[in-house]
C-alpha cells in the first residue's frame, strides 16, 4: 500500500511538468490551430532562465586580503557575490532562493519570447498545412537549443532548491503509515503545488475574465468573434505568450529536480505531444488530466515488481498507452467532437 502511494507521488511531479507543457500546447493548438514543435524548447528556455538568473545574482566580487596568505604563499583571495556585499543577509537569502526568484525573471523573458515568436514566425503559418507547421517549429526548436548550447555548454547545470525545502519529508506518518515508508523530497511537493496553482491560474484566467471569455469564444468559433468586431488575432498572440510563460515556468521550477541541459526540451516535447493526444486535441482539462495520469502510469511501470513481469515496460509505457488510446478512442480521453478528428 505504501509503495503504491509513493509511486503515485513520484508520478505526480513529472505529471505536473507534462501537464504544464501539454496545457500550453493545447492552448496554442486550440486558439491558433498551430502544432508547435518548439514548445519543448520553450520549457528548456525557462529552465535556462533560472540558470542565467542564478549566474547573474551570483556574480562575485574578488577581495584580496594582503595580510593573510594561502598555503601557496599568494595573497588570500575571497570571493563574495556582489549581492551579499550590497544587501548583506538579504543577499544571502536571495542567493538561496534563486530558483523561485527566477520566476520573476522568467515571466517577462518568456512573454517576450512568446510574443516575438508568434508575431515573427507562427503568424505566417496559420493557413499552411500542419506538416509545414511541424517542420518549421521543429527547425526553430533546433535553432533555440543550439543557441543555448553555445552559451551554456552541453553539460547539465545543476541548480539547488532553497535550503528550507531541500531535504526529504516523511509524508507517511501524516496519513497513518509507519515512519520511513513514504519519504518524499520536499521540493517535489513544492513543484506539485506550483504546477497545480499555475494550472488553476490559467483556468481561472480563461473562465473568469472577459479576456478569457473572448478567447474561449474565439476557440469555439473564430470567424464569428471576428465578425463581432473583436480583434481576435491580437488576443491569440497574447495566449501564445501565456502558453510560452506556462512552459517556461514549468522549466524554471523543474531545474532542482533535473539539471537542465540543452536537449531536455526535446525529451519532454515528444512525451508532451503524446500527452496532448491522449488527453484529446484541443481539450484543456484533457491535457492536464492526461499529463498527471501518464506521469503516474510511468512511475508505476518503473516499479521493480512490474518490471520483472514485463521487462522494459517503463521505457515504452507512455507510447504504448498513446497507441492504444489513438486506436480505440481516436478523439482522446476528453477530445471534443470535430476538433482534428481525422
Amino acid at each position: 500500500m505504501d509503495a503504491i502511494v509513493l509511486q503515485i507521488l513520484n508520478g505526480l511531479d513529472k505529471g505536473g511538468a507534462y501537464a504544464l507543457i501539454a496545457l500550453g500546447l493545447t492552448l496554442i493548438f486550440g486558439t491558433l490551430g498551430v502544432v508547435n514543435f518548439a514548445h519543448g524548447a520553450l520549457f528548456m528556455l525557462g529552465a535556462f532562465c533560472a540558470v542565467a538568473f542564478n549566474k547573474l545574482i551570483g556574480l562575485e566580487q574578488v577581495v584580496v586580503d594582503p595580510t593573510k596568505t594561502t598555503a601557496w604563499g599568494t595573497p588570500l583571495e575571497t570571493r563574495v557575490p556582489y549581492i551579499e556585499v550590497w544587501l548583506g543577509d538579504t543577499g544571502t537569502t536571495m542567493l538561496n532562493y534563486s530558483v523561485p526568484l527566477s520566476i520573476a525573471f522568467a515571466i517577462p523573458v518568456m512573454l517576450l519570447v512568446g510574443y516575438v515568436m508568434e508575431r515573427g514566425l507562427i503568424r505566417h503559418f496559420y493557413k499552411r498545412p500542419h506538416a509545414e507547421q511541424i517542420l518549421v517549429t521543429f527547425g526553430l526548436a533546433i535553432v533555440l537549443q543550439e543557441i543555448i548550447k553555445t552559451y551554456f555548454g552541453a553539460n547539465p547545470i545543476p541548480q539547488s532548491a532553497p535550503d528550507m525545502v531541500r531535504g526529504a519529508m516523511d509524508l507517511g506518518i501524516w496519513i497513518g503509515f509507519d515512519p520511513g515508508t513514504v519519504v518524499y523530497p520536499q521540493w517535489r511537493i513544492v513543484y506539485l503545488f506550483f504546477s497545480l496553482s499555475v494550472i488553476g491560474g490559467v483556468f481561472a484566467f480563461l473562465q473568469f475574465t472577459t479576456f478569457g471569455m473572448v478567447v474561449r469564444a474565439g476557440m469555439a468559433d473564430r470567424e464569428t468573434v471576428g465578425l463581432l468586431g473583436i480583434n481576435i488575432e491580437r488576443r491569440f498572440t497574447l495566449v501564445f505568450a501565456v502558453a510560452a510563460v506556462v512552459a517556461g515556468l514549468a522549466g524554471v521550477m523543474y531545474t532542482p529536480i533535473l539539471p537542465p541541459d540543452y536537449h531536455m526540451g526535446m525529451d519532454f516535447l515528444v512525451l508532451s505531444f503524446v500527452v496532448v493526444v491522449v488527453g484529446g486535441m484541443g481539450s484543456l482539462p484533457g491535457a492536464v488530466s492526461a499529463g498527471f495520469l501518464l506521469g503516474i502510469l510511468q512511475s508505476f511501470a518503473s516499479m521493480n515488481e512490474v518490471k520483472t513481469i514485463l521487462p522494459g515496460i517503463d521505457q515504452i509505457i507512455i507510447y504504448l498507452v498513446a497507441v492504444i488510446i489513438l486506436l480505440v478512442r481516436p478523439r482522446g480521453l476528453m477530445g471534443r467532437k470535430g476538433v482534428m478528428e481525422t
Binding site: G139, T150, Q315, A322, L326, P330, M340
Partner: protein, 385 residues
C-alpha cells in the same frame, strides 16, 4: 523538365541519372567531396530519402519515425554478418525481410489515423524501438555499445578464413570499403531510383497522389485507400531498411542512436530541402545535407582565420567569431536555420526553385494560356517533373 513524360524521356532520365551517379567520384572531386566515405553516405542517404519520399511525397503522410527502419535494417544486417558471414547479399535480404515485416506491423496500426496523429503514432513507435534497443533488447542490440561482428561469431560461410584483421564485409572477395563500397551502394541507389520512377509513373503512384490531394473524395467514390497507403508505407520502410543495411555493409556496426527521432527529422529535412514529391529532389537534398555536414563540421577557428585573413584585423576577429557559431560543433544551428528558411520561403524545395527559374526563362506571350493552366497547380506540376 516539364515537358511531356514519355517512356523515352524516362529512359533518358534513368540513363543520365545512372551516368551521373557512377561518375560522382570524378565530378565531385573539385568541390572536395570526391572521397569514398562521403560518396557512400551520399548514396545511402539518397536511398533513404528516396524511400521516405515515396511515402511523404506521394501520399502526404508525414512519418516522424522512419529512422526506426534504418536502425532495424542495420541490426538485421549485422546479425546476418554474425550468423552467415560477411557477404552483403544475405545481409540485404535479411534487412529487407525484417524492415518490411516491421513496416507492415507499424504501418497497419499507424495508418488508421492520418495527419498529425499519424506523425505522432510513427514517432511513438520509433521512440519505443529506440528505448527498447537501449534497455531490454540489449541481448539482441548490445545496448549502448552498439552491435558489432566479433571473431568468435559463428559466421557459417566464412568462419574458416583465418584472417585476424578487422572484419570487413566483402562481396565474393571484393571488400566493401572505399570505392568498391561506394559502387555497391550506388548500384542499389540506381535500382531504388528505377523502382521509384516506375512507382511514380504507375497507376499505383497516381492513386497515392490522389490520396494526398483529397482522401475523403477517394473514400466517397467507394475506394478503400488503406491498402495503397500501407503498400507505400511498406515500400518506403523497406527502402529505409536497405539503406540501414548499407550503413552496416560499409561499416559493420549498428547502434541505437540511428533510430533516434533526430535521425527521423533529418530524413524529413533532406526530402523537404530537395523537394518532396519529385523524383530527383530527395537525392539532391540528401547529398547537399551530407556534403554541408561534412564541410561545415570540419571547420574550426584556425581554418576560419585562414579563410578570412584577407580582412582587416578588427573585422577578421568579429567575422570569425560570428562564423564560428555556425561551423564545427554549431553545424546543427546552420541545419536548423536552413530547415526554417526552406520551409518558410520554398516549401517545394530546390526542385521548385529550379522550376521557378525555368519558368522565368520560358515566359513568352504566346504561351500565357498554357502557363495559366500550369500555375494553378504548382504541386502537380512539380510532381510531374
Amino acid at each position: 523538365m516539364m515537358t511531356k513524360i514519355s517512356p523515352r524521356s524516362d529512359l533518358l532520365m534513368l540513363v543520365l541519372f545512372t551516368a551521373a551517379i557512377l561518375t560522382m567520384p570524378i565530378w565531385l572531386a573539385p568541390i572536395g567531396a570526391g572521397y569514398p566515405d562521403l560518396l557512400q553516405k551520399f548514396a545511402i542517404f539518397g536511398l533513404f530519402a528516396l524511400g521516405f519520399n515515396l511515402l511523404f511525397g506521394l501520399t502526404g503522410y508525414l512519418s516522424f519515425g522512419h529512422a526506426a527502419f534504418l536502425g532495424i535494417g542495420s541490426y538485421a544486417a549485422v546479425w546476418s554478418f554474425k550468423l552467415l558471414g560477411m557477404n552483403p547479399i544475405p545481409a540485404l535480404l535479411f534487412s529487407v525481410v525484417f524492415s518490411s515485416l516491421f513496416a507492415v506491423a507499424i504501418g497497419y496500426i499507424s495508418l488508421r489515423r492520418s495527419g498529425i496523429y499519424f506523425s505522432i503514432l510513427t514517432l511513438a513507435f520509433a521512440q519505443m524501438s529506440y528505448n527498447l534497443a537501449y534497455s531490454v533488447l540489449t541481448p539482441i542490440t548490445n545496448g549502448e555499445t552498439g552491435l558489432r561482428v566479433l571473431q568468435s561469431d559463428p559466421r557459417l560461410f566464412d568462419s574458416s578464413s583465418e584472417a585476424s584483421g578487422p572484419l570487413i564485409s566483402n562481396l565474393f572477395g571484393i571488400e566493401m570499403t572505399g570505392y568498391s563500397g561506394f559502387y555497391f551502394c550506388a548500384v542499389l541507389l540506381i535500382i531504388g531510383f528505377y523502382i521509384s520512377q516506375r512507382i511514380f509513373r504507375s497507376p499505383f503512384g497516381m492513386m497515392l497522389r490522389a490520396v494526398k490531394s483529397n482522401q475523403n473524395r477517394m473514400s466517397y467514390t467507394g475506394l478503400n485507400t488503406r491498402p495503397y497507403t500501407l503498400a507505400a508505407f511498406v515500400i518506403s520502410g523497406t527502402f529505409a531498411g536497405v539503406a540501414g543495411s548499407l550503413l552496416a555493409v560499409t561499416d559493420p556496426l549498428a547502434g541505437a542512436e540511428r533510430m533516434q527521432w533526430t535521425a527521423s527529422g533529418e530524413v524529413v529535412l533532406m526530402t523537404i530541402l530537395g523537394g518532396a514529391g519529385t523524383l530527383l529532389g530527395p537525392i539532391l537534398g540528401a547529398g547537399l545535407i551530407k556534403y554541408f555536414e561534412n564541410i561545415f563540421s570540419a571547420y574550426n577557428e584556425q581554418t576560419l582565420h585562414a579563410i578570412f585573413s584577407f580582412l582587416p584585423d578588427f573585422m577578421e576577429g568579429a567575422v570569425v567569431s560570428l562564423a564560428s557559431l555556425f561551423v564545427g560543433e554549431g553545424w546543427h544551428l546552420t541545419l536548423g536555420l536552413l530547415f526554417m528558411v526552406i520551409v518558410i520561403f520554398l516549401p517545394g524545395g530546390i526542385m521548385e526553385g529550379f522550376n521557378r527559374i525555368t519558368k522565368l526563362f520560358r515566359r513568352r506571350p504566346s504561351r500565357v494560356g498554357k502557363r495559366a493552366g500550369h500555375s494553378h497547380s504548382p504541386a502537380s506540376a512539380n510532381a510531374a517533373e
